[in-house]
Amino acid sequence: MKGLDAISRRWRNLSISVKFGCAFSLLFGLLALEALVGYGALRVVLQAESAILASVEIRQRVFEMDGELEKARRLHRDFFLRYPEIGFAKAHEQYFLPAKAVIARVVALSEDLGQIVEASNVSVTLRERNKDIALYLSSAQRFGDIFEEIVTQVTVMAAPESGLLAQLERLDDRLGDRLRGSTGVSLLFLEMGRHAHEYLITRQRPHMQTALNVGFNLDQALGTAPGLTPARREDARRLLGEYLAVARRIPDVDVKIRGLFNDFALQALAVDPISRDLKALAAIEVDRARGRITGVSRVASVTIVATALTGLGFALVVALLIHATVTRKIVALTQAAAQLRADALEVRPQTTAGDEIGVLAATFRDMVARMQDLVANLESKVAQRTEELAATNDKLEQAVRELDEKNQALEVLTRTDRLTGLANRRRLEEALQTEVLRARRYGKPFSVILLDIDHFKDVNDKFGHQVGDSVLIAIAGLLTRTARETDVAGRYGGEEFLLVCPETELTVVAALAERLRTEFTTTDFPLVGRVTSSFGVAEFTRGDSVKSLVERADQALYRAKNSGRNCVEVDGENDRENNPA
């Protein structure tokens, strides 16, 4: 239990990559194991299949080889059975040559068989039989050689005309002819022939040796036999010598032939068990390979199913572990994040693992706590900031107001003559320009009065500039009071004043100027007393500009000055006086 806890703790503290690494390594291991088992089973099955095919082929070759060898033996047997009947040449053609061809096939087959066994993956027992196959091969080759040698020896022995037996028979006939009529030697001749014949039946050498001994006696008897001419005797002795020489050779050739046949028997003794064993071993090999396939298939099936089930179970365990240690924590963190988004600042993800998710959860918790603190402080700070902002705003508004006021004052200052408080020359020119434009567009009349204080220099010189200024201020007051609300009165320069009278015809303005002159003349200026002014009046005419209008007013003022001052001169009045209608 302690151990499990330790393992569990150790597992929890592992990093995610290590956990994944362990899990996937184990899964990979299981997959690799399964693949190996499958591969191994397949390999064994393929090997067994190959062994079966090889064994079947081996068995087939052995059957074929055995059949061919048997055929060669039959041909060999038939050769000896049939040659006395059909003759040597025909037997040679019908049995010997085909037998040689069959032996060549046996040799080729056994060579193939050896190569198949060598190259195949059959059992060691069968492979070790390769030496038997080699023996089979060499025995087959030897069979061919021995067969050829037997045929040679048999030819020596039994070939028609040239064979020893034929020679013996021929000599026997000829010798019999020579000895015919001589009783004593004929009896010996017959005895010799009988023993030789006995030999040919029994193949027991003593019989032939006896025949040779009788032949010796016959030879002795020929020397004294009556009834034979010397030539016939000599011919008979020559024939007897040839007969005995042939008879002496026959047992030797027989021994050779018997040895060669014995060789066949020994080969058969060596070879027959080989083919029998090879066939049996090949059959066993097939059964063994089949058994191996069955066994391996069974083991492989069980192993594959077991590893598959284990792998499945293990995959589930791994999935559960991953879910418990990774996915569930990620889900918990995701839900916590969602709640946090929904302003649930009290949420805290409960993850204690030592892995990256644990670290992330701890970080998340710290972050949420920090956010909660920040949210709590934020309202008070907002109120404080709002108050600070309102105060600032008030100050700003106050400043704006003050600025407006100052601007207005500045505006007044920039458009007002500082001494008199009337419009200054700039303001007057603006007003003149405005009225010129209006008159041009709408064809409305407007007029101007330009006045200049008479002898104002004398006032400054006599009473000082301050008194002069008070005179100017007093006249400004008079203008302001006398002018209409729509008129603009202003100091045009020095002791000159201009009064712009919108939508006012010249006559009205001349009357206004007169009333002003009168007002001046009746006003008592402190220290100075009476002060007069000269007035020039002009009305806007089509084609006038500000300049031309003021010039015409100024010309009228000039005339008023020239007319003795303290009078009103109207522009164009001289023209009307000089050119009365």
């Binding site: 990559s17 080699a134 050498r205 040796q209 030797d252």
Partner: protein, 418 residues
């Protein structure tokens, strides 16, 4: 870092798989022109034994096997740390038996060499087969001249790789002929062989020497093996008026010749002479007094030495009987020469396997020189003869003294070149 661990795990896994798939080290190449025999650390060293293990001369074949067994026993039945496995094949003492026995052995590529044969007729055919297959073969019993050399030239049945420690009986027939001509004054002689190259070799040797000396071979007869009726051939001897019959036959044909000759009065004075194949207790026991006065020509037996006494004691201890013939000694020497040559030719491979080149083994055998054998000092010549030629003519006077008495009654010794 973890990636690196994972990669290392994968590498280890693949390396393990690779190692699982790795095959055994490749065998070392063989440069011997006749091929090599490779013997694994736990594999036995295979030697073929081709002897006459059944039939009339089985006793001689058994003596050869025993000589080999005694030589192996002295080495703890191991050569170069490998147990020696003997694959025995019976020849039946006939040529076809020799050929087929050799065919069976050479079919096994692990068979290194052949120890055999008993009969020279087997040896001729067996040597031909084994020589073609690249093997080597050594005999302690074959003595027919046809197998190695005649008159300092290759004999008709010479085969590369064939050697023997039994002396070439090229001089056996001449020894008998010289004794007959020079000591007995024989001028007309008859020979009887059994058609085998061994007996024919002896009778041919006898004829050539006898005729060279001035004698006359009046009969050169042959009997078949297993013939029992020898009267016809003996009648021929009588007819030929031969003073001596040289019949180097084995038992029982030799027995029949002797016994039937003794019954034929015309042969009462005819000298009968055979060879070493009848210098056996079994022959003396079988013919008893009939053999009195009979001559035998056989190899000069080795001198009794402490080494030979020790070997004889080992023979007695191992087989609970004294050795019936001396031929186990030449077999012992043949086995030792073969085993020494194997040790000389063998190369211990780095793969733990023993590599023995077949030509290297032949070369080592032919290079045998001054081998201190118990049959004498042995030096193998280019024809495969390792023993010096020395033959005694023995006369049996007392059957009761057995073969040892016969061996002690040396009446003539012929050792050309010594």
């Amino acid at each position: 870092m973890r990636r690196a661990v994972f990669s290392a795990q994968l590498s280890v896994m693949f390396a393990a798989l690779f190692l699982l798939c790795t095959c055994a080290p490749a065998p070392e190449p063989c440069t011997d022109k006749l091929g090599c025999v490779d013997i694994g650390p736990d594999e036995p060293l295979k030697l073929g034994v081709v002897q006459a293990l059944t039939g009339k001369v089985a006793a001689l074949g058994r003596e050869q096997v025993r000589g080999l067994e005694l030589a192996l026993a002295r080495r703890g039945n191991k050569v170069l740390g490998h147990a020696v496995q003997l694959l025995s094949e019976d020849t039946g003492c006939n040529p076809e038996g020799g050929a087929n026995a050799a065919l069976r052995l050479v079919a096994d590529p692990k068979v290194l060499a052949i120890f055999g044969t008993t009969c020279s007729g087997d040896a001729a055919t067996a040597a031909e087969v084994m020589s073609k297959a690249g093997l080597s073969m050594i005999s302690g019993n074959n003595s027919a001249p046809f197998l190695t050399s005649i008159g300092g030239k290759r004999a008709p049945k010479w085969a590369a790789g064939y050697l023997r420690t039994a002396p070439n009986e090229e001089s056996s027939g001449p020894a008998a002929a010289r004794f007959a001509f020079e000591k007995l004054g024989i001028r007309k002689a008859a020979t009887i062989n059994d058609g085998d190259i061994y007996t024919r070799g002896l009778t041919d040797g006898f004829r050539q020497e006898f005729e060279k000396l001035g004698g006359q071979i009046v009969l050169d007869a042959t009997v078949n093996k297993n013939d029992t009726d020898m009267e016809p051939v003996l009648t021929s001897v009588v007819n030929a008026r031969a003073q001596l019959v040289f019949f180097p036959l084995f038992q029982p044909e030799g027995n029949h010749v002797l016994l039937q000759a003794r019954k034929m009065s015309p042969l009462a004075k005819t000298v009968l002479m055979s060879d070493g194949s009848l210098i056996e207790d079994s022959f003396i026991q079988a013919v008893q007094k009939a053999a009195i006065g009979m001559y035998f020509v056989g190899p000069t037996p080795p001198k009794m030495t402490p080494g030979l006494e020790k070997l004889a004691a080992e023979y007695r201890a191992r087989y609970n009987m004294p050795a019936p013939t001396i031929y186990y000694i030449s077999a012992f020497d043949a086995a030792n020469i073969l085993l020494a040559a194997i040790e000389k030719a063998a190369v211990q491979g780095r793969d733990g396997r023993l590599h023995i080149g077949r030509q290297a083994l032949r070369d080592a055998l032919y290079a045998t020189s001054g081998h201190a054998g118990l049959s004498g000092q042995l030096t193998c010549n280019e024809f495969g003869d390792c023993a010096a030629q020395s033959f005694n003519v023995l006369k049996l006077t007392d059957p009761a003294s057995g073969v040892e008495g016969l061996k002690g009654n040396v009446v003539f010794t012929y050792a050309p070149g010594q």
